[in-house]
């Protein structure tokens, strides 16, 4: 088999690192188990902690291509699994309408030739094993979840007109969820579970370093500390890792050498994205950055959302 088969947890951890993803302890372990046990992994956690990124990195590391199914409310079989190519079927019927019996035509038009594979089918019918990412499964309805069960436990799809299609190769499956809805027990039972949370300070610092290596050490540390402080606040949307990285890049572009109060006010909108949140952050974190001018700043009411960053 051309694809990579890891033999130990540390191997996976190193591999993911090489692929540009810094895994936490459990992340590497669960990824390893996923390749060993052939079970799908359900990844939950707040938005922007790198759930989708993990799938991409796994794909790079395992040298498998990534098949992605983005879920949304109202997603159905025809868009996720397969669909009959009815246009082609009609053409087939019409071009040979004379002289062929209905029996022949019927057998003919429900063949694989007339099947349009959608992501899930692509994933299991692929000749090379893939990484299948089912993104934001919590956005679909329960009916769709039920439909997934057959695929996730046995890696097969039943098509009424055609019979069962078995997987040619076994994909590594990742399902992500932002936890906006409780998933069904049946689905959870078939998966390994991985909870990704906001990383520890040191870990996040490493991540920022990896993605914005030119950023000064002390600035990076200060940046991560501020982001951690901001997450403690009561916000509508706390900043994610992706936003820390964006902020680091913004600071690089601006050539900032330190995060002082002015820089913070100007670039704050990179990490905070609601008007009320901006006010809260400006009042609670912004003024702390520069104790000397703290008083003056609170009088000036900082934090106008028009600050254009990068």
């Amino acid at each position: 088999m051309p694809v990579r088969q890891p033999d130990s947890v540390s191997e996976v951890a190193a591999g993911l690192r090489e692929a540009g993803y810094l895994p936490g302890e459990s992340t590497a372990l669960v990824s390893f188990l996923a390749t060993k046990l052939g079970k799908p992994v359900l990844v939950e956690g707040p938005a922007g902690v790198g759930k989708t990124e993990l799938a991409k990195a796994l794909g790079r590391y395992l040298e498998r291509s990534l098949v992605r199914l983005q879920c949304y409310e109202g997603l159905d079989e025809a868009k996720a699994l397969y669909e009959w190519n009815y246009r082609k079927q009609l053409l087939r019927i019409q071009t040979e309408s004379d002289g062929t019996s209905w029996q022949d035509v019927q057998e003919d038009i429900f063949g694989e030739e007339f099947l349009l594979p959608r992501p899930l089918m692509t994933a299991i019918a692929s000749n090379d094993p893939v990484v299948l990412l089912i993104d934001e499964i919590d956005k679909t309805d329960q009916e769709f979840e039920a439909m997934l069960l057959e695929l996730l436990s046995d890696f097969q799809i039943s098509i009424p007109e055609l019979g069962r299609i078995d997987a040619k190769t076994q994909p590594v499956v990742l399902l992500t969820s932002n936890n906006t809805r409780e998933l069904t027990e049946a689905l959870k039972r078939r998966c390994l579970y991985l909870w990704l949370d906001y990383p520890e300070l040191e870990h996040e610092l490493e991540i920022v370093h990896l993605h914005a290596p030119e950023l000064d050490d002390t600035v990076a540390r200060k940046l991560v500390e501020i982001v951690h402080q901001v997450r403690e606040l009561d916000l509508k949307k706390p900043p994610s890792i992706a936003e820390s990285i964006d902020w680091a890049r913004a600071l690089l572009l601006l050539g900032a050498e330190d995060i002082d109060q002015d820089t913070f006010r100007d670039t704050m909108s990179v990490i905070v994205k609601h008007r009320t949140d901006l006010d809260t952050v400006a009042a609670r974190v912004g003024v702390k950055l520069d104790p000397a001018t703290a008083h003056a700043a609170s009088a000036r009411r900082p934090g106008s959302p028009s600050a254009d960053a990068a």
Binding site: E44, T180, R189, Y193, K236
Partner: protein, 469 residues
């Protein structure tokens, strides 16, 4: 609960003297422990965990634990319980094994005479501040050696508190202490809690060693079990549920304008169906008619009897306003007052609730809810606007304070509106006790118990369920 019988051939056959049944029996017992604490662990999950342990080095504690967690605990709540049960179970298992083999740790601990109490106090406070777990454990042992031996009350909780007091560890600042002492500014509550856990654990270990038997295991208490949460997180939670409500409604198609809107032909399904008739579209397939988006009237009780719930209710209101344009909201105690404008103009929840408590003017004389008057005023106010496509939602506890419930007026409202829902912040158990008259209203509407966000979710499902019309 019947315990599953472990297979006779142990998976890890090479480990003798691991207690009865070997390692796999221990794991089954652990799973049983999890079940007792309310984690749903199925047989397939146990099999998965065995399978997973085949692939990781289970001599490494963190790998071992993560492998078990990934296969057994499948939600953040379960994960938290898992951590606690894991600690408890393997601590007890290890101690039991140590007792069985008569390995004794207390022989190596220093004697009382060597401990300088003042230094110990400061060391503990410093270790708490620096957050070093290993040091804390050692210091907890020292503290027990210094204060605990011999005079234990036999109740662990009492001993823990006695030792904590003797160490002078408090959350409030102690200004009379010298500057270099970390205790001077007070010790954060979570740090103190952690030290208490160490103390308890070490005391327990001591007890097991002395008595050479395992004390009965302590069920997890609710405080430990619950995920850390506060009203703030609840607000975010409510917004999340309502956002979901909005999404559900959005995907259910657009509002029907008038009765005669045409149904749309579903081309894909029609063509698909035409295959049965040789490609001639004989049967037309229509897109399903979607239920209309409801026009909503919300009435929210803000009296003192629902104080604890009214923050929750107001946040529901707030979130609903974020999601629906055709929404009118009212708050009431003795009279009713429309607050639609407040919510439309004020995006910040806290400011909105302040404005309401200041300006709504719904309390009259007594400050007790008067449902009869509220229904009459509501009916007078919007009688003309109620129509069969409107949904009325009442948030209140239906406690009339002895006043007439006037369910006849309420019935008139529900008759005019299409659907009426009642969200009661009290557990169903308390309904109709005392001055609660929810039964009188329940005849005319659908009542829900609603004081948690998961219950709100149930309600969302009911609200967006298509109505047969």
């Amino acid at each position: 609960v019947s315990r599953p019988v472990p297979p006779s051939a142990a998976i890890y056959g090479g480990i003798p003297d691991q207690g009865p049944g070997g390692f796999d029996a221990q794991l089954l017992a652990f799973a049983e422990d999890l079940r007792q604490e309310g984690v749903a662990v199925g047989t397939s999950e146990i099999l998965d965990s065995f399978e997973a342990l085949n692939h990781v080095a289970w001599t490494d504690q963190s790998d071992f634990k993560e492998a078990l967690a990934a296969t057994l605990a499948k939600s953040p709540e379960d994960r938290r319980v898992f951590e606690l049960v894991f600690d408890r179970f393997f601590f007890r298992a290890a101690e039991a094994e140590a007792a069985r083999r008569e390995i004794n740790e207390s022989a190596t601990s220093p004697s009382d005479a060597e401990i300088n109490l003042d230094t110990l106090r400061q060391q503990i406070a410093a270790a708490l501040r620096d957050g070093s777990e290993a040091a804390l454990r050692d210091l907890a042992r020292l503290a027990i050696a210094a204060f605990g031996r011999g005079e234990g009350s036999g109740v662990l909780g009492v001993d823990v508190q006695r030792i904590r007091r003797a160490l002078g560890l408090r959350t409030e600042p102690q200004p009379d202490l010298p500057d270099y002492d970390p205790r001077q500014k007070g010790i954060p509550r979570d740090q103190l809690r952690r030290f208490e856990q160490h103390l308890r654990r070490e005391l327990e270990r001591d007890l097991i060693e002395r008595t050479a038997s395992l004390p009965p295991k302590r069920p997890l208490n609710e405080l430990d079990r619950a995920l850390p949460s506060g009203p703030i997180q609840d607000l975010a939670q409510v917004h999340k549920v309502v956002a979901q409500l909005k999404r559900r409604l959005a995907t259910q198609g657009h509002e029907l304008k008038g009765r005669k809107r045409h149904a749309h032909v579903d081309v894909r399904r029609t063509m698909r169906a035409s295959l049965e008739t040789g490609g001639v579209p004989i049967t037309l397939k229509y897109r399903p008619r979607r239920p209309r988006r409801p026009e909503i009237f919300v009435l929210c009780d803000v009296s003192t009897s629902v104080t604890s719930a009214s923050t929750f209710f107001l946040s529901v209101l707030h979130a609903l306003h974020d999601a629906f344009r055709k929404l009118r909201s009212f708050v009431f105690i003795e009279r009713i007052s429309e607050v639609t404008e407040v919510f439309e103009h004020e995006r910040d929840f806290r400011a909105a609730s302040e404005t309401i408590s200041r300006d709504a003017g719904v309390a009259d004389v007594s400050g007790y809810t008067d449902y009869g008057r509220v229904w009459e005023e509501f009916l007078a106010l919007i009688e003309d606007e109620l129509h069969p496509r409107a949904t009325v939602i009442v948030l209140g506890d239906a406690r009339t304070n002895g006043r007439p419930p006037r369910d006849d007026v309420f019935a008139a409202i529900t008759a005019k509106a299409g659907r009426t829902f009642w969200l009661n912040p009290e557990p169903r158990l308390y309904w109709n006790y005392g001055d609660s008259v929810i039964a009188a209203y329940e005849k005319h509407c659908t009542a829900f118990e609603c004081w948690r966000t998961d219950q709100l979710e149930e309600f969302v499902k009911a609200l967006t369920r298509p109505v047969a019309s």
